[in-house]
């Protein structure tokens, strides 16, 4: 199953080594710009993404040591669109050649607009709103999308053969969209869906879980939210013990942090994850990332760090490629990025004409006694799923 990865990696490696041979070393320092929420309500995700980006810069610098160097200038956008726009404008004035980072469609929208006006490439994983990639921005790229998460969850639930699923979703932009996507896909597959909306202030999920238990009587609970929501939902579920066969979540659930900090709460819970945990960093690419990351930071990287890393690495490689052919600008970097087709930590990445990654499909992991096993798709699984299985049985 790793054949494909190894093949493409070696292809990339070959391509790179050829590049290195054919282009005389002409040392250049590439300045990248990053705006990300390091404070405010998105500080947590912003910090994760930021660390991934720093790791990528480290890896790029080691790789091109002596030939080129990369530097990233970061400005905290404080989770605010206006400040993100200011950040982009300021970074442009400081001479950055491309942007990586950003979180939340509402912030990425105006910020990438500003990057567009300044003729800079903008690559991100933080915004899943559909319209973002339909604005005709040549330099706008994102490596993930709602569909990729949705497809994985739909696939998993179809494999389980469930007939009735309750979806608990936060009323944020990304969560609403994802919940709608999954609902549509599952309904077409003949699954009955009952949706329960909550908001960021919801602390006590007993009421919702009780409804699932007494009224919905569904076979699985799908949680579309963030860490705090998952912990609240799982605690309430563990208490009320609805008769479901699976507890399934999306991002930030099948993470090392959750596995180490809440092992009993997470037992048997599913969540999207590209890699198992503890990460069997088997491939050389994974090892490179892990070494670079743990050298700087003392926790285990989650999807945020991985995605931040991948997008920045892709951007860096595209810049190097563009440089090797002559001029580095919006047009040449975009062209190179559009040529991307490779396996990464975040799965296969290829960009369509809108800058979206149609190949993006998440995998699904399941928490097992403090570890995370990949259980979907079959081609990537590290273990069979424990089904039916919930934290309480």
């Amino acid at each position: 199953m790793n054949k494909h990865i190894i093949k493409s990696l070696s292809a990339v490696a070959l391509g790179l080594s050829l590049n290195l041979v054919s282009v005389p070393a002409f040392a250049e320092n590439f300045l990248l710009g990053e705006h990300t929420p390091l404070s405010g309500k998105l500080a947590r995700v912003g910090t994760g993404s930021h660390r991934g980006i720093l790791s990528a810069v480290k890896v790029l610098n080691e790789k091109y040591n002596g030939q080129h160097s990369f530097e990233v200038k970061t400005i905290d956008d404080e989770s605010s669109p206006a400040k993100a726009v200011s950040a982009v404008e300021k970074l442009v004035s400081q001479g950055v050649i491309a942007f990586t980072g950003g979180y939340s469609s509402g912030i990425i929208g105006p910020a990438s607009e500003a990057a567009h006006k300044a003729n800079r490439v903008y690559i991100t994983f933080g915004g899943v709103a559909g319209p973002l990639s339909k604005r005709g921005h040549e330099g706008f790229f994102r490596i993930n999308n709602t569909a990729g998460y949705g497809k994985a969850i739909i696939g998993l639930i179809s494999d389980m053969g469930l007939k009735k699923v309750s979806i608990l979703y936060s009323n944020k932009e990304a969560t609403v969209k994802t919940a709608e996507f999954v609902e549509k896909g599952l309904t077409e597959g003949g699954v009955t869906i009952i949706k329960h909306e909550f908001d960021g202030h919801t602390k006590d999920f007993k009421s919702i879980i009780n409804k699932v238990k007494l009224q919905d009587k569904s076979e699985a609970i799908l949680m579309v939210g963030y860490e705090t929501d998952y912990i609240g939902i799982l605690r309430a579920a563990k208490l009320l013990k609805p008769k479901v066969k699976a507890m399934i979540g999306i991002w930030s659930l099948a993470t090392g942090k959750m596995a180490t900090e809440f092992p009993t709460l997470m037992e048997n819970v599913y969540g999207t994850s590209m890699l198992p945990f503890p990460v069997a960093f088997t491939t050389s690419e994974q090892k490179v990332f892990h070494t670079a990351y743990t050298a700087e930071f003392d926790n285990e990287p989650s999807y945020l760090e991985q995605f931040g890393y991948v997008q920045t690495l892709l951007l860096g490689e595209a810049i190097i490629a563009a440089h090797s052919k002559g001029e580095v600008n919006l047009k040449t970097i975009s062209e190179e990025l559009r040529k991307t087709d490779q396996m990464t930590l975040a799965g296969r990445v290829r960009f369509d004409e809108n800058g979206d990654n149609p190949e993006f499909v998440q995998r699904v992991g399941q928490h097992r006694t403090g570890k995370i096993e990949i259980v979907w798709p079959l081609s990537a699984k590290t273990s069979d799923k424990a089904f039916p299985g919930t934290p309480w049985n």
Binding site: I75, D76, K83, E89, G109, P110, P131, E173
Partner: protein
């Protein structure tokens, strides 16, 4: 007289010197325009606070309603942007009419009631998906237009528009304050009982101030929507649209005309340009400390300090210069 001494140089700086020096620098122009957005709300807030004697914790409500009104009108009904911005002001005023039952409340009760209204508006914006786009918000809201051959969609154009909005608001504020209404309102602020005896309908006057304040805030909110081209409920009704302007108004001296504007320019620009470069993460900490220190050391705001500086400067015969 003292008004003129502050406003003449301020107007020269804002209308001539700033565009002359920075028009090529999108970053700075955008930054100053955002500071003026805060200034506009701060001014509207101070108008209600100073003349109406009411502290509002919910100006984000007017800001958000204005923003959504203008965005929806321009996107779904093709209303021209500038017209939509004015209608947005009326929309915010209409929202303030719903708040009028709260006018019989006092002090913190009124402040909190308005906060609750703002929160309710935010939840409604999230839930009324068909009109507002729900939590996903509205992307690609039309830019400010090209008007009489000038592209207001640029940073410089945006700056000029918001500067004019703030200037107009200042003029309105000044006229109200000077009118008989203003005198009655001032008397009311000193003693409500006194005005009742004199026969001024206090609640009616307060209601008018609320409507005017909402109108200004709504226009500013509409401007921001077209300036940033994006809205979602959490952003449009964010508590920051209430809190930062209040801080700015009090910091600048909310009982004066120019205080809220100077306060907003200072707070926002100092925070973003100076503190943020000193302490990239957690620069809000400096802002917090500065606020606390200011309240303790110069409780009537920043303006007295500046006017004092002015006096010292003019005594020395130096060139007039406002640093903000």
């Amino acid at each position: 007289m003292s008004n003129f001494r502050i406003f003449a140089p301020l107007a020269i700086v804002m209308y001539i010197i700033v565009p002359f020096l920075f028009s090529g620098n999108d970053y700075l122009m955008g930054m100053i325009a955002t500071a003026l957005i805060i200034a506009g709300i701060a001014l509207a807030w101070a108008l209600l606070g100073n003349l109406g004697g009411m502290v509002s914790f919910g100006h984000a409500a007017f800001f958000g309603v204005g923003a959504y009104t203008s965005a929806v009108l321009t996107m779904d009904y093709n209303v021209p942007v500038f017209l939509a911005m004015i209608i947005a002001g009326f929309g915010a005023s209409l929202a303030s009419v719903f708040m009028m039952p709260a006018l019989r409340l006092h002090g913190p009760y009124f402040a909190l009631a308005i906060l609750a209204y703002a929160h309710i508006f935010m939840i409604l914006a999230t839930e009324m998906t068909s009109i507002t786009g729900g939590a996903a918000g509205l992307l690609s809201i039309p830019n400010l237009p090209v008007f009489m051959g000038f592209d207001f969609g640029t940073k410089l154009g945006g700056y000029i528009v918001i500067l004019n909005i703030v200037s107009l608001a200042l003029v309105v504020y000044h006229l109200i304050r000077r009118s008989t209404y203003g005198l009655a309102l001032k008397a009311m602020h000193d003693s409500e009982l006194a005005t009742r005896i004199v026969g001024v309908p206090a609640t009616q006057l307060k209601a008018i101030m609320l409507v005017v304040s909402a109108f200004i805030t709504g226009c500013v909110g509409a401007f921001n929507a077209h300036f940033i081209n994006f809205l979602d409920p959490e952003y449009a009704f964010s508590g920051e649209w209430t809190v930062i302007p209040i801080v700015a108004a009090i910091f600048g001296g909310y009982r004066t005309l120019s205080g809220p504007v100077l306060g907003a320019l200072f707070i926002y620009l100092a925070d973003q340009l100076v503190f943020k470069s000193l302490l990239p993460q957690g620069h809000q900490l400096i802002l917090g400390a500065l606020l606390g220190g200011m309240i303790l050391l110069s409780p009537s705001g920043l303006l007295p300090i500046i006017t004092n500086m002015f006096k010292r400067f003019s005594k020395k015969g130096d060139a007039q210069h406002v640093e903000s």
